[in-house]
Subunit: 705 residues, 2 copies
């Protein structure tokens, strides 16, 4: 048993035997404390003490299971089998909380029955259901164990997903967003809040997974699905509702701070004043009444950040950094669960010093008795968290949508380190040194994974060495992503003409000031600007019609476009990029882009065109450029973006790409390079510049380490 | 003892002996259960059962004390003396909740120590401090017992007020409003909410009272004040902070619904679905888990409405009606405290049928065992609530700012009723019959009180009969309130000229559309409209300067006005109104109004000019017209308002006055009468119309009853 564990963990830290020992000590405790028979889970204190009376919590799934699935999948399976065995108790608990259907796992339990005394910090933590669902997905993605998914996982996913539809609702006062009221998140220094970000984000993931598994099972084993659906009285309408709720999930970003508020009123509260007296090492809860704590902006542990660790794909690195910076300022880390999350996110956003400090916190929590209560038993989730900080933090490991990703970085303190991962029966060894990353397949036939966003494959016996790519500029240039309007073709005049025509028809004045205000604004926004001075008010239906009419005029105009409407140098820039061996994509928010490229005669020069209808956030959000990079299969750091507007340049930079501006320098100050037009675009120079910068920075970094 | 009680209560209900008996039964229990020695308060179940273990709660002050202060002031004094005796325990309780200074009364107690088990519905109800403070004010206002205020009341007020500054803060994210987070209001079907409206409104009243008493005591007994301040370490800075917090108190009105949200997220929650099963008479809490209740928009009892009963002066009747309508829809009345508040507010907003139904609920709660638990003891606060429903509800009794007000109405079911009130040692008998109200002074030398907003005075042996005035139209006309711009003088052209001059100076276009949009918009709003099309952006400081500049141009212009600038018929309309014996006021939002009246030569024709700087809410809010009526000392229902804009007409109607529009009928559709101009204003006709309508409705009402 332990032989296999050490073989799979494949741990080594070059030049830091003390850390290596601590990691092994932690893994030993986690693994020896785990049940082997599927009749129990792993207790918060493992087998080492009487703290928490031997109870299991959500942290078994959220913090311990990720290590187990890649190092000892049979233990992860056992932990989830225990959840299936106690599903009937979870149903019973759901009935106690007035849910006519579905299941809610107990907050603290052994037998499956709720054992927490104070429900505002116990049963109100509905997010435990999402943690179990998340763990099922992790286990099945890593192991490929579809039999488990059918026999146990699906029933858990469906029954637990149902609770969200009971406790959430589509809120007409917030544009129909799906809101969840009266819950407690992982941060127990608030209680009974509305729209806890962690809960909403994890519920969204849970609902999507449940719906996806329902569709999969209906295909994979229709008889089994029919039988299960009948047994738990599941209707297809419910599955549709899960997707509807997930799509409409309320996950707002604060406009001023650019962060996800922990809940509806969290940001409105004052911060906790500096503690004037008492032992600052003691948990706040031992010093202050919960009422004093609840009314302040103070977090016991990672809450929003944890959701960005467990389900943060699709959130830009910039947004993660803003959230990290903000929540670090209000978190007191009174829970030992906190440090590993902070370490993982710190590593992801490039805060290497902080990542190291939090790593040490979670690594040595019990060996050095950092919280002064190891006598009650060791902190199993924090111990497993040290493995998370190593592999998810420094190794950049994530498992999303059935795919394994890595993005390894080397802490300054080490010469190198090594860890191993099991993936669908294969074993991948990851060795990180000062010169780069070495991947080797030590067992199994094949493994595919993303390295820094790039899809790689290793077959039996193969290995692969890659240079470090942990700073954006260290990536060689592999793709160019063009904006359309104002870069490839000047459609602004066509838009303007279409608006002007519409303005005449409805007797609204139209002038330069108006045209300027419409720049970069979407169709509906532009219409509102036009209607400000219209002689009468328009209903929503009429506005829809006006917008459609303007679009029709626009499409009529570009229907008569030809290659002569290309901006000077555009065709040559795209062709030269392709000839230099680079890939080319178009990132335009216009749904008319495919038609336009067609008319301009350059559609076949593009490897990928972003589908504007899938983009939720407009520039300057990086979403559209990240989507273009993903479509090309190229890491964002290996891309260059070309834009003519300040918002576009901001979008490119937020995506971590080199930004080339076309137009006036004053308006595009944030661009890395500004060209007067595409006639001045020399792809070869960009490739050489990028490679030189990469080499220089690599050298500089070599001297530092 | 009881002789005096029945003499003071002076109760009689003509034609309904059963109700009279129930009222006496209820009062008997409240009075026999009250402590006589100042060492205890009145228990929730009085002396009748073991429910609530003999504990005292806030309802002693909020529901029982109002009857005691007017019927047996020595019992009210004893109840408050008990609070003073246990002030040291309240200080101790505040320390337990981490308050370094001040006192917080225990939620349930006998000795003064907190005995509640579940703090989210116990100690989190900080509003108990405000209830004690409110009761002190009631007792002192009614009794005139300034000795008590000095010796006991002041210390309680100061020590309890301090807690608000600890648990609230000036919130930069809400324009510096004073916000209070993490409390529970009277409605225990929510817990740990932010900005509970009841708590905030009562805290505002409490803070103002505390500051006022501090200023009074410093004058009244400077040595005592100095000694007390020294003993409790009170600084003048604190008193300033109390006023600052009260002035900035966060009491928002929902823009869409026009109601006060019960807390920050209450209105966002879904309503409780209709109960599919179970006994609808059982309290929800016996059927549903608190988590199910908390996430719904459902109230156990009056919460926001209670604040409008206890501290609702300054809130318009229209706003009270909107709040009544809304909260009635989401309240289940599982607490017996609820019915009396609903009855009082229903009577105030004219919902006579509902007032009657809620009156019966609170009147017969124990005699008919309406909640099925009278065996645990009777409901002392609901019993006292039946007296509230009679005197505060039907009698319209309120005590605000040291003044007694009444506005008696007769329920359809009765031929008449009678009640008595003590006021500063005198005794006022109030007899209500179908023909009117009869006031008589049965003891004492003098009493002053407001009847339907009108100040009356009775001396020894005097009595006074007044006709009913309970429908707006039943009031004879006694005053006319004029708007200025567009009614008395046409200043719109002057405003326009000033704006146009400013527009030229900053090169902004100015046309008819713009001028039209500025109509009825205040100075800053108009400036923003102008700047929309300005060639550049302006800073806040620059905007201030532009606004000042426009005002200077305006004042220069009106400085050269003379009587020739009066609109046709204006002077005659005002003079004729005075000659008809009516009073005249001006309700203009312009701070230049006094200057303008001066220039027009009619300043001395007005009895009252509203000070625009004291008006917080602009038309169509009724505030400015209500302020004009108050300034004249005439009931709003006896006033007629003259306006030229739709918002002004709405303001007049919301104030409950007759609305006369000057201008185009299409634009003033809501007005009772529309005249082309003041030349058509015939005051005599209005007086006659009003009196005829009053007579007709009185007759119609007579037939109905």
């Amino acid at each position: 048993m332990f032989d296999a564990l050490w073989r799979n963990a494949d741990l080594a830290v070059d030049g830091d035997p003390r850390t290596e020992q601590a990691l092994r000590f932690n893994l030993f405790h986690v693994f020896q404390s785990s049940s082997r028979d599927g009749h129990s889970s792993t207790a918060a204190k493992g087998l080492t003490g009487e703290g928490y009376e031997g109870h299991y919590f959500w942290d078994a799934e959220a913090f311990m299971l990720p290590a187990m699935v890649t190092l000892a999948p049979e233990l992860a399976r056992g932990m989830l089998t225990y959840r299936h065995r106690t599903l009937e108790r979870a149903r019973h608990h759901a009935r106690e909380l007035n849910h006519a259907r579905g299941a809610l796992y107990a907050w603290r339990t052994i037998s499956g029955d709720e054992c927490s005394a104070y429900f505002p910090s116990g049963s109100a933590q509905y997010h435990i259901n999402a943690a179990v669902a998340w763990a099922i997905r992790q286990y099945v993605d890593v192991s490929g164990d579809l039999g488990f998914l059918r026999d146990h996982g699906a029933e858990i996913l469906f029954e637990t997903a149902r609770i969200w539809l009971d406790i959430g609702h589509f809120n007409a006062r917030r544009n129909g967003a799906f809101c969840i009221h009266g819950v407690t998140g992982p941060d127990e220094y608030t209680a009974l809040v509305d729209n806890n970000h962690y809960t909403n984000r994890m519920a969204q993931r849970h609902l999507r997974d449940a719906a996806q598994v329902a569709h999969w099972l209906a295909e994979y084993d229709p008889r089994f699905f029919a039988e299960l659906s009948h047994r738990i009285d599941l209707e297809s309408f419910e599955v549709m509702q899960w997707l509807r709720a997930a799509d409409a999930m309320y996950l707002p970003e604060d406009a001023e701070l650019g962060i996800f508020p922990q809940d509806d009123t969290f940001l409105d509260k004052p911060r906790m004043p500096t503690r004037a007296h008492g032992d600052a090492k003691r948990p706040l809860l031992l010093e202050l009444h919960p009422l004093s704590i609840y009314r302040h902006q103070v977090c016991k542990q990672a809450d929003t950040l944890l959701s960005l660790m467990l389900a943060g794909d699709g959130v830009s690195r910039e947004a993660k950094r803003r959230n990290f910076d903000y929540y670090e300022g209000v978190t007191v880390h009174d829970s030992t669960l906190s440090a590993s999350t902070f370490s993982v996110i710190a590593a992801e956003v490039g805060e290497t010093d902080k990542a190291w400090r939090y790593f040490q916190e979670t690594l040595r929590v019990d060996l050095d008795d950092l919280h002064g209560n190891a006598a009650h038993g060791v902190h199993m989730a924090a111990m497993a968290g040290s493995w998370l900080a190593l592999c998810w933090g420094y190794g950049g490991v994530r498992i999303n949508h059935g795919q394994l990703s890595l993005a390894p970085r080397l802490p300054d303190a080490w010469h190198g380190y090594r860890f191993g991962l099991q993936w669908r029966g294969s074993h991948l060894r990851v060795e990180v040194s000062q010169t780069g990353v070495h991947y080797s397949l030590t067992r199994g036939d094949e493994v595919s994974f993303h390295h820094e966003g790039e899809l790689l494959q290793l077959r039996k016996g193969e290995s692969l060495s890659l240079p470090h790519r942990f700073a954006e500029a260290r990536q060689p240039l592999r793709a160019v992503i063009f904006d359309l309007d104002g870069v490839i073709a000047d459609t602004a005049v066509v838009h303007r003409a279409a608006w002007e025509k519409l303005a005449q028809e409805i007797d609204a004045p139209f002038d330069e000031v108006l045209a300027e205000r419409m720049k970069g604004v979407d169709r509906r926004g532009s219409l509102e600007i036009l209607l400000e001075r219209a002689p009468r008010a328009y209903s929503e239906a009429e506005k829809d019609e006006l917008g459609e009419r303007k679009n029709r005029y626009y499409r009529e105009q570009i229907g008569s476009f030809g290659p002569e409407n290309l901006l000077p140098g555009a065709r040559h820039a795209v062709e030269a990029t392709r000839n230099a061996g680079l890939r080319v994509a178009l990132a335009s928010a216009s749904r008319n882009a495919p038609l336009l490229l067609e008319r301009l005669g350059i559609a076949d020069l593009f490897d990928y065109i972003v589908d504007a209808s899938t983009i939720e956030r407009s520039k300057p959000d990086p979403e559209i450029f990240l989507a273009a990079a993903a479509g090309l299969g190229v890491a964002p750091a290996a891309c260059l973006g070309v834009e003519d507007a300040a918002a576009g340049i901001a979008s490119i930079r937020a995506a971590g790409m080199v930004a080339v501006g076309v137009g006036q320098r004053e308006a595009l100050g944030e661009a890395d390079v500004v060209l007067p037009g595409l006639t001045a675009f020399r792809i070869v120079e960009f490739v050489e510049d990028k490679n030189r910068a990469t080499a220089e920075r690599a050298e500089a970094s070599h001297i530092n380490t």
